[in-house]
């Protein structure tokens, strides 16, 4: 399928378009945060502690008098980068492992799929929590750990695609003409199995955003004073009775963001699914 055909379908698909707009807004918020944020997100102000939303602070202030809107705008960048990098790591690892299993089959496949089953039976959130608490909770560790614990879905998809592509004529032809395994995998098989991988990568971003916010909420994710939606919510919990704005706005941002990625992912699924093409046109 050509790129412009995809873009045309993307426009026609309301779900994907809505998701795309949300993600675009997120990018804009993150990129423009230094310009449009009304305050320094880390500036403590003793005179405006826990002030409710008002004209000076549109979304109120937190327990140290920091402006919530500014913190949320800067938090968008954290959320975006954790989401994309983690999902990127997961996708890369998943492709490598799934491709090896599907292409080589037999013993490699059996061993790899057993490893996937093992990873799927560990309560991943426990694992992430333990690793991050034992190492230190720098943003790089968070991205790496989320990525390295969420590649299993992608690897299963890629394996299934590769198993069905393995004996296609163009793959056999490439093999007969002496192309290396790596070349066959990268140039011939991977491009033909990208659609499900892209969808699952987009949905993976959503999952990573949720995990990062949960970690930061529990106090082992992104560490204050660096703003993240999760750690603003953590302050929200401590001041639940007096400061509703600390709990409502960052949570809403997480909800809308995750919904944006999910809508985009599901919309792309419809766009890539040839069974649905006739129904729509």
């Amino acid at each position: 399928m050509k790129i412009d055909a995809v873009i045309n379908r993307l426009r026609a698909n309301k779900m994907a378009a809505a998701g795309g707009i949300i993600v675009l807004c997120l990018f804009l918020a993150a990129a423009l945060a230094p310009l449009i944020a009304p305050y320094d997100p880390e500036a403590v102000n003793r005179h405006s502690v826990l002030s409710a939303p008002c004209r000076a602070h549109l979304l109120g202030t937190d327990d140290l008098g920091r402006d919530v809107l500014s913190r949320m705008l800067f938090g968008a960048g954290i959320s975006l980068s954790v989401g994309f990098v983690s999902a990127g790591i997961a996708t890369a690892v998943g492709i490598a492992i799934g491709a090896a299993a599907g292409y080589y089959g037999k013993a490699v496949d059996a061993a790899v799929m057993r490893f996937v089953d093992i990873m799927l039976s560990i309560p991943t959130f426990f694992l992430i929590l333990a690793v991050i608490a034992f190492l230190d909770s720098s943003i790089w560790n968070i991205m790496a750990v989320i990525g390295l614990t969420s590649w299993m879905g992608v690897s299963r998809l890629v394996r299934a695609e590769f198993l069905s592509l393995k004996n296609r004529e163009y793959v056999l032809a490439a093999k007969a003409s002496g192309a290396s395994d790596l070349r066959i995998i990268m140039r011939h098989m991977l491009p033909n199995s990208l659609a499900p991988v892209i969808i699952s990568a987009v949905l993976g971003i959503a999952a990573a955003v949720l995990v990062e916010s949960a970690l930061s909420f529990l106090g082992i994710g992104v560490q204050p004073p660096t703003p993240s939606w999760g750690n603003i919510l953590s302050a929200g919990k401590d001041n639940l009775e007096i400061a509703w704005w600390l709990s409502v706005f960052p949570g809403l941002a997480i909800l809308v963001t995750v919904m944006g990625y999910n809508l985009l992912g599901e919309g792309l699924r419809d766009i890539f699914d040839p069974r649905l093409w006739d129904e729509r046109s």
């Binding site: 057993r114 490893f115 089953d117 093992i118 990873m119 799927l120 039976s121 560990i122 309560p123 991943t124 959130f125 426990f126 694992l127 929590l129 333990a130 690793v131 608490a133 034992f134 190492l135 959503a206 949720l210 916010s213 949960a214 909420f217 529990l218 082992i220 919510l233 929200g236 919990k237 639940l240 009775e241 509703w244 709990s247 409502v248 949570g251 997480i254 909800l255 809308v256 963001t257 995750v258 919904m259 999910n262 809508l263």
Partner: protein, 323 residues
């Protein structure tokens, strides 16, 4: 059926061994020795005492020997002693906190099934109606809802605003003086919000899968046959359709168990429920390595048991898998 069971058990054992290796490796990721925490907390500890400790945990031996020693003890449910000041056995600590986590998770699973399956079926049957659209939107919201945020909102609304429900712990003050009935009601009141929060995401997910699965089934020939026989549409859907549509759901349920167990850290922490999730959080924060390893292992065992039940359920419903 017997060979099927043997094969499954063997697979489970391999998976269990793999999980313990991964858990063990993670503890060794941490910089320094596990006993450092113990000794830092007791600055007066003598070098001899430290050496004794290291010997107890086998830290003077190579990693593979350490793993073998640990694995041997784990099979006997001996996870060693907690590093915390009470020095109690890890298994005792887990044992007293496991039931509440299990009850909450089982209750959420039942609620998820009871709500999600009817929603999934009806939105598949009434596809493209207003009802289907509304449930679809609901599913997207449910998928994207961070559990801890939902918990905060509910605590704020029902606890702080309306003063209707308690927001933390399992028991009210003065619990000991309540009548039996009063005790039951009190605990249930404390559990409403946690159970609701932990089943919310699952309801969205499972109802979506149920809808997809039912849509697949409706297209099948045997459904047309049933209709041609003149069976009532309810009977077609709930007898012929449901049984087939439930199959993939059994697998999905098995796969969602690690998520439920992992999620218990979050809701137990938010609602201050003294369960295994909260214990895990505390053990991780205080670097209580024996306790962390113990809970990781128990969590994995629970998942494996859940998967086993899912497989057995699958075999019970679908004779083809028994071969």
């Amino acid at each position: 059926m017997l060979t099927y069971l043997t094969k499954k058990t063997l697979e489970m054992l391999i998976t269990f061994a793999g999980i313990t290796i991964i858990s063990f490796a993670i503890i060794h990721l941490a910089p320094g020795k596990p006993t450092d925490v113990l000794t830092d907390l007791n600055p007066k500890i003598t070098p001899e005492a430290r050496a004794k400790l290291e010997k107890y945990y086998g830290l003077d031996k190579p990693v593979t020997t350490q793993y073998a020693m640990w694995f041997k003890r784990v099979i006997m449910l001996d996870f060693g002693e907690s590093f915390s000041s009470d020095h109690r056995a890890v298994w005792t600590k887990i044992k007293e906190r496991l039931p509440i986590t299990l009850y909450i998770n089982i209750a959420s699973l039942l609620i998820i099934l009871a709500i999600a399956i009817p929603i999934g079926i009806s939105s598949a049957v009434h596809r493209h109606t207003l009802y289907d659209r509304i449930t679809t939107v609901g599913v997207f919201v449910g998928f994207a809802m961070p559990g801890f945020w939902l918990a905060l909102l509910l605590m704020m609304f029902f606890g702080v605003h309306l003063h209707m429900l308690p927001v933390a712990g399992l028991k009210s003050a003065g619990f000991a003086e309540f009548s039996f009935q009063g005790k039951v009601i009190d605990i249930l009141r404390h559990l409403i919000l946690p159970i609701f929060v932990s089943s919310f995401g699952g309801i969205a997910g499972i109802s979506r899968y149920m809808r997809g699965s039912m849509l697949e089934v409706i297209r099948q020939d045997y459904m047309a046959t049933a209709r041609a026989k003149g069976l009532t549409s309810n009977r077609i859907i709930y007898v012929h359709g449901l049984r087939n549509a439930l199959l993939p759901i059994v697998t999905i349920l098995g796969l969602s168990i690690p998520g439920l167990i992992g999620g218990s850290v979050i809701f137990e922490q938010v609602f201050s429920i003294p369960g295994m999730g909260q214990l895990f959080y505390m053990s991780v924060m205080s670097r209580d390595y024996p306790l962390v390893m113990g809970i990781l292992t128990i969590g994995a065992v629970l998942t494996l048991l859940g998967n086993l039940f899912a497989d057995l359920g699958y075999a019970a419903v679908d004779p083809r898998t028994r071969r």
